[in-house]
Amino acid sequence: MKTDSKIDKALALDLLGKMMKARKFEEKVQYYFSLGMIHGTTHLGIGEEACAAGTCSALEPLDDMFATHRGHPAAVCKGIDINKMMAEIFARETGVCKGKGGSMHIADKSVGVLGANGILGPSLPLACGSALAHKKLKDGKVSLAFFGDGASNEGAFHEAMNLASVWGLPVLFVCTNNTYGMSTHISKVMKVTDIEKRAIPYGMKSVTVDGNDVMEVYNTVKEMRKYAYENNEPVLIVENTYRTSGHSKSDGNLYRTKDEINYWKERCPIKRFKERLLSEGIATQEEIDNVDKETTEIIDNAVKFALDSPYPKLEDIYDDVYAD
């Protein structure tokens, strides 16, 4: 799909800001994790920010989004409160999930973030049901599920694809295709690696984009959202990208070369977009620097907020097991 050549400046700076916010957020998480100040594990999406920023910005603010284990960038770009998200990762009571969920379960229904997920596959069936609800309620919303290339080999993917198409659900299935599931390259686990083709047997519309081109992602998802909503039909969107960070804290990168990682670092979506904005005269260096400064401040403040927040209390562990 071709990118619109005329870029709106405000939109461009917004997308750049979101990508930078996601990147800086994760770099901070990585740093505090290495100091042992963040507990558990984290899956960083460094290098994949254009997918999150382009996709989430193309949604209406209250559309519902189901994320994956690598869900920080999507939550950031969907407009979650950064302070509360950082506090969650630091396991604080002020966190979006009150310190009970952590990195892998970031959620905030008020901005349509219906959860990062520790299990591969469920985002798609869940988004089907969410889209069914929106269709029945006629509330003008659509639902979106992120999932990875690896997760598209789960039964849940295929069942959801069928259900969404046969029931005519306004849902977007967005595959963040970084060509690896942990260490396993897509070519080792799929005979046909063109994931877009998986829509054909389900009679579903599908499209593939350069997931490191934030404008292409944005324009495509915007158009597909409109299509899904107006026609009550699902769409499969494949966003090709690469994670330059490891799979998780336990990744020794034994399955790929430094050259490969560096090749993709050169194609960093943030770097690419900045260069484009400058070369096409859409933004000045000063304006870009300002976005950089603002996002740095936002993230620094979020860390401060998190570190100043108390831990949850043991007495409260039974809160939220059941709803009232």
């Binding site: 009970k100 952590g102 892998m104 591969l120 831990y311 949850p312």
Partner: protein, 325 residues
């Protein structure tokens, strides 16, 4: 005797059986170059090749089902599910396929396979990566369920599991992978279904398994300083369970505490307590039976909460004193 980690004891058990029997092979996600999420299978793909250490697509229903299918058609597969929480994704295979075939087909089909999976919390991985789900598995006749607590037990029991003609669920304890213990250099196996008295004592019986064995042993050490002599029984196999070992110990000590990491409600503590209560050994008890287990909540992320919901040494010491009071 040689010192070895729990993870390497598991690897050695599999490797030894694979060298002896060409029909033994492994399947799982990222068990090759990545060495498995917990590093258990390091070096195995180099030794045995990709035909016997098979990386799978992320398709648990397909590859666990394929392990069962391979087992019924003549192989002895070992299949790894990265975290025991993901058994949910292929539950039909675990619940309705593997354990039913032998019985349902009149004893004419065997399912000699082992499903290895990492179980338990303490890693800050939150509600979907930390559960102890053994009680669910013990509710399925036809399965065997093993939870080893030491490198010695892990190796000996896994070798027996691989040679067993039934589907065996082998629940490895995440927090024990890096712990060390002594094992003999020569070959040995440990029979499935036999408990182990990890510490002899005369005042109170603690029945436990998995990583809680170590917590209980530490508590017993503390109590020893106060002249309280605790017996710690490690069940090792949960299904079939060595109930006789429990009865024998309780007859001697007249006090029973059960400790596990899994949530209390519907946990094996209830099964163990009932096994005592329904025999004459009940009459030997000098105090009510006590169960120490996780609070009935999903595993929370915050480390303070995650730790706080579990039995620990202090809680065990207190419980022992209470039943002896």
């Amino acid at each position: 005797m040689v010192e070895i980690t729990y993870a390497n004891a598991i690897k050695d058990a599999i490797s030894e059986e694979m060298r002896k029997d060409d029909n033994v092979f492994m399947m799982g996600e990222d068990i090759g170059v990545y060495r498995g999420a917990f590093g258990v299978t390091g070096g195995m793909v180099e030794e045995f090749g990709e035909d016997r250490i098979m990386d799978t697509p992320i398709s648990e229903t397909a590859f666990v089902g394929a392990a069962i299918g391979a087992a019924v058609s003549g192989m002895r597969p070992i299949v790894e599910i990265m975290f025991s929480d993901f058994m949910s994704v292929c539950w039909d295979m675990i619940l309705n396929q593997a354990p039913k075939m032998h019985y349902m087909f009149g004893g004419k089909v065997n399912v000699p396979m082992v499903l290895r999976t990492a179980s338990g919390g303490g890693t800050g991985a939150a509600a979907q990566h930390s559960q102890s789900l053994e009680a669910m598995l013990c509710h399925i006749p036809g399965l065997k369920v093993i939870v080893p607590s030491t490198p010695y037990d892990a190796k000996g029991l896994l070798k027996s599991a691989i040679r067993d003609n039934n589907p065996v669920m082998f629940l490895e304890q995440k927090l024990l992978y890096r712990t060390k213990g002594m094992i003999p250099e020569e070959e040995y196996t440990i029979p499935i279904g036999v408990a182990d008295v990890k510490r002899e004592g005369k005042d109170c019986t603690i029945v436990t398994y998995g990583r809680m064995v170590h917590t209980c042993l530490n508590a017993a050490k503390q109590l020893e300083e106060e002249n309280i002599d605790v017996e710690v029984i490690d069940l090792r196999t949960l299904l079939p369970m060595d109930k006789e070992a429990v009865l024998k110990s309780v007859r001697k000590t007249k006090h029973l505490i059960i400790v596990h990491e899994a949530v209390k409600t519907g946990g094996l503590g209830g099964e163990i307590a009932a096994s005592v209560a329904e025999t004459d050994v009940f009459n030997y008890l000098d105090a009510p039976i006590k169960r120490l287990a996780s609070e009935d909540v999903p595993v929370p992320f915050c480390p303070i909460l995650e730790k706080g919901i579990l039995p620990d040494e202090d809680k065990i010491v207190k419980a022992v004193k209470e039943v002896l009071a």
